[in-house]
């Protein structure tokens, strides 16, 4: 059963790529992507349910379906579904049908790499899958072929490849640390590493974890390794930005979290979590500074991703059942919310023909339905009630105040307030500054639909945290070694 679900999740995007290459029409390609993403989403919901009952290791230990990985797959699948709906409405920069098909092929490939990475049971294979996501998505970032987009893709590839080589070094050292316990040749699964960690040299494990944190942290966009993120996220087509921000960052965070659980088992959880907390808090600070005085609408959203990855890092850093639950809940909420925001930013860019906040005016008056959805999304992403992110941020702060690092929780809360004011100030300007010139066109129906589809669960998750999810998160927290 689990194997079928995993095969559907991994195989459907691949099948979609083959069909798109064989058939060739841009409309067909868009429809194929939407269909594939529907299948993937349905399978990932079932996978979450199945992995909660019994985590499975399949195909001779190569593939893993544990609750943590299944959750990240669910977040990715949700973004893939919404973003491919948005992309079906048109892609900026796809001037010829052939290029539109190419976009959809690459998009499915990117979704494939992001979906299979969490399934990798072997730390080395996980590294390779993450590297694959970089290579595919770099071409999506460069898709618009402007000088800026090319520059962003180049920076993305250089910075992330350099960063991720540190993660490879960390993986090698972790394997080496394990080889003293398990012998020179063994299967480097996460489970084996966690099991042997108690007998490994703790200093070496901590060193390896710090390298993993620096490496995968670059991909997550934690400050100070975030420099590629605003460029790549702002230059990519909106659907790609959504998948980069809502899905890929979570997938990379998974590597940090699994590394953390190994460090925890080696008895060096304290130091490892302190490093994670430091990077998380720094990300919040950097994001706050850049959000307040931001001029580009998509760069604003990109820095908001830095902020939210910082919050998730804080959640896992504070640890315990509360911290882990908050961080996981935040992953899903952020994935939905950021997709909404990037779809909105992409539509506004089409309508006003500019990426500057200064060019976007009177959104609420000109496009009432779209404006209401986007504004609600903006309120949600700053962590205001009654939306899901409020619930998850509050849980993470509760985890902070329950532990010895209450002061860090207070600092984080203060930075969140600064971000709230700074972010919504941009929306005040975009909605209520009068302007003489009317926008060129109105948002397409297909670009508003995913926004509505994202907002509904956000509102639901804000008002009601399903009890089953609490249980699920508690299972994940236990598997990561957090004390009940």
């Amino acid at each position: 059963m689990t194997l079928v679900l995993l095969a559907l999740i991994g195989g459907t995007p691949l099948l979609a790529i083959l069909l798109m290459l064989a058939q060739g029409g841009p409309r067909f390609a868009a429809a194929t992507n939407v269909t594939a993403s529907l299948v993937v989403f349905a399978s990932s919901v079932l996978l979450v349910a199945a992995s909660a009952r019994a985590p499975a290791v399949l195909l001779g230990g190569a593939v893993l379906a544990d609750p943590l990985g299944a959750w990240v797959i669910l977040c990715t699948a949700a973004v893939y579904l919404l973003a491919s709906l948005y992309a079906a409405g048109g892609v900026h920069g796809a001037d010829r049908p052939a290029r539109l098909v190419r976009f959809h092929v690459l998009f499915a490939g990117f979704a494939f790499a992001t979906l299979v990475a969490p399934m990798m049971n072997n730390a080395g294979l996980y590294w390779i899958a993450v590297e694959l996501t970089t290579l595919v998505s770099a071409f999506l970032v460069a898709f618009e072929r402007t000088p800026e987009a090319t520059e962003a893709a180049w920076k993305y590839m250089v910075v992330v490849s350099a960063g991720i080589s540190l993660a490879l070094l960390g993986t090698v050292l972790l394997y080496w640390a394990g080889s003293f316990v398990l012998g020179p040749s063994y299967d480097m699964t996460w489970e084996a590493l966690r099991g042997a960690a108690g007998r490994m040299n703790p200093g070496l494990v901590l060193f390896a974890f710090l390298l993993l944190l620096a490496g995968y942290g670059t991909k997550v966009g934690l400050a100070p390794m975030h420099t590629w993120l605003p460029d790549a996220h702002s230059e990519a087509p909106a659907a790609v930005s959504a998948l980069l921000s809502g899905a890929l960052l979570n997938t990379a965070m998974l590597g940090v979290v699994r590394g953390l659980s190994v460090a925890e088992a080696a008895g060096r959880g304290e130091g490892a979590r302190a490093a994670l907390l430091g990077l998380g808090a720094l990300s919040l600070l950097v994001a706050a500074l850049f959000i307040v005085r931001q001029r580009g609408i998509k760069r604003l959203m990109a820095y908001s991703s830095v902020e939210h990855m910082g919050i998730i890092a804080l959640g896992f850093g504070f640890g315990g059942p509360l911290g882990v639950a908050g961080a996981l809940y935040h992953m899903l909420n952020h994935a939905l919310n950021k997709t909404l925001m990037f779809c909105g930013a992409g539509s506004m860019r089409e309508c006003f023909d500019s990426r500057d906040i200064g060019a976007i005016r009177e959104v609420g008056r000109r496009f009432p339905v779209f404006g209401a959805l986007w504004l609600a999304g903006a309120v949600a992403i700053t962590g205001a009630p009654p939306f899901g992110l409020f619930a998850s941020e509050l849980t993470i702060l509760r985890a902070a105040f329950a532990g010895p690092l209450a002061w860090l929780g207070a600092v984080a809360a203060l930075l969140l307030i600064v971000i709230f004011a700074g972010f919504l100030n941009h929306f005040r300007i975009m909605y209520f500054t009068p302007a003489a010139a009317a926008p060129a066109r109105a948002p397409a129906v297909l670009s508003v639909l995913p926004m509505a589809l994202a907002l509904a669960p956000l509102l639901l998750f804000g008002l009601w945290w399903p009890g089953a999810l609490w249980h699920y998160f508690a299972v994940v927290a236990r598997s990561l070694g957090a004390a009940p």
Partner: protein
């Protein structure tokens, strides 16, 4: 682990090859010509292939002969050739613009090696492996990692950024061959292919870069800030 209990002859052979690779990293750091760059990188890859073969012989890991052959083929021949084609012949004879003088970057590189040695000594001492070839492997691995980052930071040409990344990868690969020869063969081969695909992707992007920005100097990449 065979690393700790090697016959003296093999210890010296490993030391020789590892130190030669480190020196070649310095040669890359100091050279101003693309041609010299690529030659030093190719030679470094051959050294690493030699290490793989020596580990295969000394530690009885027959599958590492395959890795050695593939390393020599991919990293020693194919990658330099691809990069050579990527920059184009007239470009390859060109002098590179250095933002930090070659002599200064050599000094920084030497400091990096010192730092790597201190870290390696402490790690090895904690593992009870002091005064073995493991210290050297760790030192060279960490030092090449730092020299790779130095290359990324001080050189502003597209080609030297790619080469910086390749030096990073070479460093990790060298360390992996000596410290964990038992790493599954499958992963080593996938890593080799991954590198090849990475360079091909960089080649494609570099073509975009030249078409759109009219230059492959990363100093032209100054549009996106803030």
């Amino acid at each position: 682990m065979p690393v700790a209990s090697l016959p003296p002859l093999f210890s010296s052979l490993f030391s020789l090859l590892a130190i030669a690779s480190l020196l070649l990293a310095f040669a890359i750091l100091a050279s101003r010509w693309v041609r010299r760059y690529l030659q030093a990188f190719a030679l470094q890859s051959w050294m690493i292939a030699g290490i793989s073969a020596a580990v295969a012989y000394a530690g009885h890991y027959p599958e590492l002969y395959l890795v050695a052959a593939l390393t020599a083929l991919f990293r020693g021949c194919l990658l330099p050739w691809l990069l050579w084609r990527m920059v184009g012949k007239p470009e390859a004879g060109r002098e590179l613009h250095l933002s930090v003088q070659a002599s200064s970057s050599l000094v920084i590189g030497a400091l990096a090696v010192l730092f790597a040695l201190v870290v390696a000594n402490r790690l090895a001492a904690a593992l009870g492996l002091a005064d073995t070839v493991a210290v050297l492997a760790l030192t060279v691995m960490l030092a090449m990692e730092m020299i790779g980052f130095l290359l990324l930071a001080v050189r502003h040409e597209a080609i030297s950024q790619v080469l910086g990344l390749l030096v990073l990868e070479n460093g990790v690969f060298l360390g992996a061959q000596m410290l964990i020869p038992g790493m599954p063969l499958f992963i080593e081969i996938v890593l080799l292919f991954d590198l090849l695909i990475m360079v091909l992707c960089f080649g494609l992007l570099a073509r975009h870069l030249r078409a759109n920005l009219g230059a492959t100097s990363a100093t032209a990449l100054r549009r996106l800030v803030g």
